[in-house]
């Protein structure tokens, strides 16, 4: 040989081939390359050109090595791709919002200011997305290379989404509910540090009783987050089912019963807030505000539960 190109080519090919196959593949590959060069020389091609042409025709040595070792030239093949995509989507729309919401709540409880809560929660959400994407992809890439037939969530007829029907879970309803729920969570979370009313020292006076932060507000944030997951699940299922209607009943009870209890036992509002705006120390005065709130919460919950079962029956 005039140049070391063939040696370098063979070396690059063998690099990723299992040790015990190397000698045999090397001998065969060298013989094949020499044969091809010889054929070109006998056609009158110059030696250096012949070698270059032969190696160029063989192409990327990594691709050749993948052929020899039977490794796939892709990260996730068609057999696993759709299972991969579905799992990734499910993780993204469940884990990310739930964990993010929990972290936000914990930070608010810890008394961080809104700016840093927002920044840290956003950073956490981004980190979560990156981690979930990375680890899911890694696991599937390993499965792809294990050579085993791993049954990854096989598609069955049961996984078909229901046809969108009239009066069932529509995208508009879902988005409306989600916006409301996120707004409710935000109202709870921000009420601690944001208020139009300030105390003597200039610190904001919360509309809600600060005592609630010891248990009830974290509880409500968890329930509302569960409702977000419920709304998304309902939309993905495509229509109301008995199971969904039952879960809806449970969620409504989990929200409305403690809310009504707290309202009637006068634990919701912050007396200081009402004093500050000049309503006197008895927040709801004659209790009208409490009654109105109880009736609204109760009616919405009952209507929502009945509506769920009514649509499930159709």
């Amino acid at each position: 040989m005039i140049t070391d190109l063939t040696d370098r080519y063979v070396g690059a090919t063998l690099r990723s081939i299992p040790e015990n196959q190397r000698a045999d593949i090397e001998a065969e590959l060298r013989a094949s390359i020499d044969d091809a060069i010889e054929a070109r020389l006998s056609e009158g091609t110059e030696a250096k050109t012949a070698e270059q042409e032969v190696l160029e025709a063989l192409g990327d040595p990594d691709r050749l090595a993948a052929g020899y070792s039977g490794r796939p030239g892709y990260l996730i093949g068609p057999e696993h791709f759709f299972a991969y995509k579905r799992l990734l989507a499910v993780l993204m729309i469940t884990v990310v919002p739930i964990v993010t919401a929990i972290i936000a709540v914990l930070q608010v409880i810890a008394g961080d200011d809104i700016g840093s809560v927002f920044a840290e929660t956003l950073g956490m959400a981004i980190a979560l997305v990156v981690h979930i994407a990375f680890w899911t992809t890694l696991v599937f890439a390993v499965i792809e290379r294990s050579g085993e037939k791993v049954p990854t969530s096989r598609w069955t007829l049961d996984s078909l989404p229901a046809l969108p029907r009239q009066e069932s879970a529509t995208l508009g309803d879902t988005i409306g509910s989600l916006v409301f729920l996120v707004f409710a969570i935000a109202a709870i979370v921000f009420s601690r540090n944001v208020s139009p009313v300030t105390g003597d020292t200039g610190t904001p006076v919360s509309f809600f009783d600060p005592e609630l932060w010891s248990f009830w507000f974290p509880y409500f944030v968890v329930v509302l987050t569960a409702e977000i997951v419920f709304e998304i699940t309902k939309y993905r299922v495509g229509s109301w089912t008995w199971a969904l209607a039952s879960v809806n009943l449970a969620l409504n009870a989990l929200f409305a019963i403690p809310a009504i209890y707290l309202l009637t036992s006068e634990q919701i509002f912050n007396p200081v807030f009402f004093e500050r705006i000049g309503w006197g120390s008895e927040p709801a005065g004659d209790g009208t505000l409490v009654m109105v709130a109880v009736v609204i919460i109760g009616l919405i919950a009952i209507w929502d539960v009945i509506d769920g079962f009514r649509k499930a029956k159709k």
Partner: protein, 113 residues
């Protein structure tokens, strides 16, 4: 290469893909080595790249469709492959299937649209 030519190329490649294995099994009824087989396939009009063919030969050997033997007597040592009994059985199966497809396509072609 124009768009149409590239498409034609892809279609032809797709159509002929299955024939490479059968052609190899048939040619290797008399033993042959890598580059020699590549030339024969080329002469026969079977279009296959060297970097596809060489790994494929080893795979077929692993599956028991080919047997191999090193010949160290010639100017350079060469690995000779030959179609095994099992390989011949497969070749017969594939051949009759290929002819079936040809017949079906001819019939479809004859039918008036």
């Amino acid at each position: 290469m124009t768009y149409d030519e590239a498409h034609l190329e892809a279609h032809l490649k797709e159509l002929r893909r299955g024939s490479v294995l059968l052609a190899c099994l048939l040619i290797l009824r008399s033993p042959g080595y890598g580059y020699g087989l590549l030339e024969k396939l080329e002469t026969a009009g079977v279009d296959v790249d060297a970097n596809t063919l060489y790994p494929m030969l080893r795979r077929l050997e692993k599956q028991g469709l080919l047997t191999s033997e090193w010949d160290t007597d010639g100017p350079r040592p060469r690995k000779y492959y030959a179609t095994s009994e099992q390989g011949m059985d497969l070749a017969r199966e594939l051949m009759s299937s290929w002819l079936d497809v040809t017949r079906t396509l001819e019939e479809l072609n004859r039918e008036e649209p």
